[in-house]
Structures are given as structure tokens and as C-alpha cells.
Symmetry: C2
Subunit: 359 residues, 2 copies
DNA sequence: TTGTACGCGTTATCAC
DNA sequence: GTGATAACGCGTACAA
């Protein structure tokens, strides 16, 4: 039982003594009506406190002027990372000009698929999907355009990615060059639970970059003192991982993280445990969150253009919607930003390793 | 001309040889149908690649399961502030459990009112509205429940606020106690363009707190070397303001900002200009963004529970929607967090002021 | 299980 | 040139 049926176009039509169509025209196509009629209709609408029902309008028009941003984790987990805000800012900048809104679409009771089905949007932007097969299937079913960001590039699917492999390669190369051989890679918690050989998309590309860099120095991921540890993408996740790493027999002398947030957490933990940076421990991060410049020592990091990713992805989605473009693939460059968090490997830190550079 | 009319409930009805109603029941009320029928309907739905249209469903049910978060500025401006992400995280935590989504609602071509009209939501959360009268009018028209956060408390309107006045008082008191008399207050760019006597809501409460603290030391805002400067809520805004302040004849010895982001920008600028903290210049911030702990020296700040604001606001909106609660007002406490950014006023810094404490 | 009214605005078609 | 009529979009839910 509804207590207050909102004022509808029909109410105005009756009160003003015109048809529903006239009311609609008075707002959307005033030229078709006599000026006096338009005025009268608008006045009665004003008096009755009429507000068009956006749902009904969307229903008729067949579009919502809303884009869904699909994320694979609960929003409260993702929002802690400024990286997401930067990306979203890029999306918003492009989408806002076109008069579109942004619907945040986290998993519904753990299911990304269910969430897709419930979202009243004109298209989707997906960010960092890992197990993307079933998700894509549902996306295709909805017959809505979508752009995948940070995923595995697929034929006929619009994708925006960055050069993760190159960035990852550069990140590890930095510490290898500095003489480090006991290296911990701080990954991102994934459905694969550490089995990096099963990675896809962004994670896979990064691991490939790591491995290539390691191999050029004769090292192998997972062998000896080079290991990959998955952790929550948060400061706490970095701290926890760091604590575990430092409690081991041969703790790493360098830490390469897939996320600045994780790197900063790890740095905080290391510092609180009395280690000095970069003398005792070196760090490399990944991302370009603006706040990284607040930390001391400066964090050497792989910059990726998150804001541009958002802008481009949103622009591409608008193009797809307009039907003016085929689904394209774009890969943006990453860039090594050198600051103070990487130093030479401590003396004698490599006594357990025989690896030497090949090149 | 549509190229691909999506599969609808009617298509399935025809193919499966049943009525539309049966199809609907097969998904939402299977017990009313024979098992075999349900199975047959679901199978044909599967084969045809049916996806329910969320718009049509919302239309029927009269609810969208979406909340709109109304912000008074373009999203890309607001998203740079981690404060917003924290707030949104609180909203998401509460709203997600209830199966609701979040629609971000920035001004549409500069108009908050237009944006309200276009949003297909069940209710609104507003954040930091300044010129709120016309906005409220439009909100009321839509006859949707809404909760105002960081605004001027109004009768019959659900509001969540923090003790801005107390927080502001404490912020200024800290630097007054430390002997500072040349104090710059870094405000937030508002439609009032610096005329703080016209402030309402959060800004008004903060200025009131500032003034009360100043008065207890015989100082007056806007007189002598105590001034309020509005600036963009961003690091750049803080930097710009700081640069201007330091170029004046009698630069401040203490800076009290309404935002940590602004404070950090100002600190960065001051440091780059060769000033040492807190010896040459003291700073106090406002907010509780997590990343504030990354800056050195530690920023003394007024902590406000942004995450809780989001949680409570969303919870209140859910209650309003359920009709189980009247619109209530809640004020959360603020708290002074002392770190290293406030030091004693430099000697002879007060030679231009005669003010002394009264109490 | 079915038929059908309903929610609400848009727009093509038709009449004056 | 003005305005009305009615179909449409798509699922839901009540009466039969």
C-alpha cells in the first residue's frame, strides 16, 4: 500500500485539461505546442509538484545514461586504495561531460554475475576481473557494451591495459641491478591463492615480467630466496606480509610490490621493526597514487596512468554506445620512477645464492 | 532502429508455450508452478539467453535498490580527497549488506537539482551541501527519503553531522596555547567566496569554533593577523594558499586547515620554501584520512569519523525507507590527535599583536 | 496457470 | 499548427 503516489504526467494532464502527450511535449518538445498551452502545463506541473520519474523515462527511451563500474570485490575493500579513486576520477571526468552517471557495481552476495544482472546501466566498465570467463558470459548476455580494464585481452572485447609486463620487469630489474638476490614479490590476493602459474590478465603479465627479469639474472621465481607472496591490497596486508617475511630464516633484502598501498604498509612495518631504508631493505612499488609522495624515503615505483585508464575506458565505452567504433585494445605505457627506497644490497646478503647476471 | 531487441519474458512465454506470468513465476515464485513447468521455462530462458531487464523490474516493483550519493562538485574534484573514499566505504559497507548499490550523483551541467531529477534511486545521501535550500526543495518534491551529511540540521530532515564547532575550537586552541598569534585558517572554497559570515552548516560551525577559540584569547577573526583563506580542497589548493600567505608582510606562524589534504599541500609548499616544521611554522589539519600517517612530521589533526558517518547515514536511510524511523539528527564526536606538527611560536613573532589570553 | 491491469513517460499516427 | 489517441517498453501480481 502506497501512502503517497507521486505526481505523474497523467495528474497534470487531467488538471490542465490536456492529454498526457501534451504534458510530455511541454517539457521535451515545446515547439509542437502553443506557447500558452506550454505555459499552462508547466504551471500546473509546478503547482502539483511534479517530478518526472527517471525510471519511466529510461524505460521509454531505452537508456539510463548511467555506466556501471564493475569491481570484483566489496566496495569497502576497494575504496581503501587511492588507486581506485584516481581511476574513477578519470572515468568521471569523461563520463560527466557526456551527462552520464556512475553506478558502482560490487559483487552481489559474492556474485559478480548477479550484480551485473541487477544493474540498470547502458554499459559496463570492468576493473581487474580475474576469473573473467563466466562474468564475460553474463555481460554478453545483457547485450550491453562493455570495456574491460586490467584484464586479459580478448578478441572482440574492448580492453584497456597498461604494460604490466614491462613495468614488472623494470621493477625487479632495479633491485637486481642494485645487487639484491633475496627478493620478495608482494602480489595481490587472487582466487588462485598463490598459484601464480594459473594467473591470467594483469597478474599474469606482471608475473611474466618478474620472471623474465629474474631469469636474465639466472634466478627463478619460487626457487631459493625469490618468492611471491599474495596479500590483501591494503596497508594492513603489506604489514602482515612483511612481518611474516622478516620472521623467516633468510629474509629478503628487497621487496617488490604490485601495489603502492602494500609497499607502504610493508615499509611501515619494516621501519617499526627497526630496519632502516634503504640500507637494510629496499622497496619498489607499483601504481601512481598521488599520496605516495608523502612517504619518506621516497618510494621507487612503477607509475601507471590510472587516471588515463579511466578516461580512455569511459571514452571507449561512449564510442561503443554510439556505435562509431569497433572494440579496440589499448595498452598504455608504464614508467619507472626512481626515488630513495632502493639501495645496494647489504654485504654478504647473497651468501645463499650462486646466481650472477648473465648479460 | 534497434538491431538486437533483447530477449524478453514474452519471447520465452511464446517459445515455452506458457504465459508471461508463468515465466515470471518460474523465476520469482517457483512454488506456484509445477516443477516440470519451471524446468521447461528455465531451460528455454537459458537457450534464448534471457536476462531480466532490471529497469522493467524496478518499474514494476517501485524500487531500484540503489541509493544516490549526492555531491556538490564534479566527481573528479571530490575523488582526489581520500576523505570521500572513506565516507563512501562506510556507506558501501552498510548498503552492500542490504543488497543496495551506490549511484554517484554529481551536479549535472553545474546543477545539483537537475542531477537529482535524473537519478533513478530509492533515496539520497547528500554530502556537504552548502546552498541547500533549492536542493532540499527538489529533494522533497521527489518524495524520496534522504539523509543529509555535513549540512545545516533541519527540522524533519534526517541529518548526520560531527561536532565541527568543538573540533574547530580545539584545533585553534592548540596553536593558541603554543603561543601563536599570527594564525591563518585555511577554509574550503565555497559559494560564499570567502564571506564567512554567510556560511551555513559545516563551514559555519567550524568558523564559529574558530572564532570562539580566538575570542577566548582576545583575538578576532579577520582582524590583525588572523585571517581565513578559502582554497580548493586539494594539495594544490593548500600549496597555492601557502605560497600567498608566505609572501605577505607578516606571514602566519601557525596554519589551521579545514582539510588534511589542504594542510598537507601547505606543508609541502612550506617545506620546499625552506621552512622547518614545527620550528618555523605549525600546522593543524582536519579529517581522518588514513594516509595522513604517511607524512612527516606527523600532522596534528582533528579526527572525525568519516567512515562512521557513511555507515550511520546509510543505515538511517535504510531505516527511513523501511518506514521504521522518524528523521533523526545525529552528531558524532571529533577528537584532537596530537602529533608533531605543532610547536611553540617563534620568538618575537607576536610583536605586532597585543592579545593575551583572558582565562 | 492464465489473462490482464498496472507503473509512467515517449512518440508515431491521426484528426481538426 | 495544435492537440489527442494509443501503442510501446518489460516485468509484476491480482483476479479468475
Amino acid at each position: 500500500m502506497k501512502t503517497s503516489r507521486g505526481v505523474t504526467i497523467a495528474d497534470i494532464a487531467v488538471t490542465a485539461g490536456v492529454s498526457k502527450a501534451a504534458v510530455s511535449y511541454a517539457f521535451n518538445n515545446p515547439d509542437r505546442l502553443a506557447e500558452a498551452t506550454v505555459r499552462r502545463i508547466r504551471e500546473t506541473a509546478e503547482q502539483l509538484g511534479y517530478t518526472p520519474n527517471p525510471l519511466a523515462r529510461s524505460m521509454s527511451l531505452g537508456r539510463t545514461r548511467t555506466f556501471g563500474v564493475l569491481v570484483p570485490q566489496p566496495l569497502e575493500d576497494i575504496l581503501v586504495n587511492p588507486y581506485f579513486a584516481v581511476f574513477l576520477g578519470g572515468v568521471a571526468a569523461t563520463v560527466g561531460e557526456a551527462g552520464y552517471s556512475i553506478l558502482l557495481v560490487p559483487p552481489d552476495k559474492g556474485s559478480v554475475e548477479r550484480a551485473i544482472g541487477n544493474a540498470a546501466v547502458d554499459g559496463f566498465l570492468t576493473l581487474g576481473l580475474e576469473g573473467f570467463r563466466p562474468t564475460m558470459h553474463v555481460l554478453e548476455r545483457r547485450r550491453l557494451p562493455y570495456v574491460m580494464v586490467d584484464s586479459e585481452p580478448m578478441e572482440q572485447v574492448a580492453c584497456i591495459n597498461v604494460d604490466d609486463e614491462g613495468g614488472a620487469y623494470a621493477a625487479v630489474e632495479v633491485v637486481l641491478r642494485a645487487g639484491h638476490r633475496r627478493i620478495a614479490l608482494l602480489g595481490i590476493r587472487s582466487p588462485q591463492r598463490g598459484r601464480w602459474k594459473n594467473y591470467t590478465g594483469t597478474l599474469q603479465r606482471r608475473v611474466t615480467g618478474y620472471r623474465r627479469a629474474l631469469e636474465s639474472y639466472g634466478l627463478t621465481l619460487g626457487v631459493g630466496s625469490v618468492r611471491l607472496v599474495e596479500c590483501d591490497v591494503s596497508e594492513a596486508g603489506g604489514r602482515m606480509a612483511m612481518r611474516r617475511l622478516l620472521s623467516q630464516r633468510h629474509p629478503p633484502t628487497a621487496v617488490v610490490a604490485m601495489s603502492n598501498l602494500v609497499a607502504i604498509g610493508a615499509i611501515g612495518e619494516a621501519q617499526e621493526l627497526g630496519l632502516r631504508l634503504p640500507d637494510d631493505l629496499s622497496f619498489v612499488g607499483f601504481d601512481d597514487i598521488p599520496q605516495v609522495r608523502w612517504v619518506r624515503p621516497g618510494l621507487t615505483t612503477i607509475r601507471q596512468p590510472s587516471h588515463d585508464k579511466g578516461r580512455l575506458a569511459a571514452g571507449l565505452l561512449l564510442d561503443l554506445l554510439a556505435g562509431s567504433t569497433p572494440p579496440t585494445h589499448t595498452t598504455l605505457a608504464t614508467e619507472l620512477v626512481t626515488r630513495g627506497s632502493v639501495g645496494p644490497a647489504p654485504d654478504n646478503s647473497n651468501r645463499n645464492d650462486v646466481a650472477t647476471p648473465r648479460d
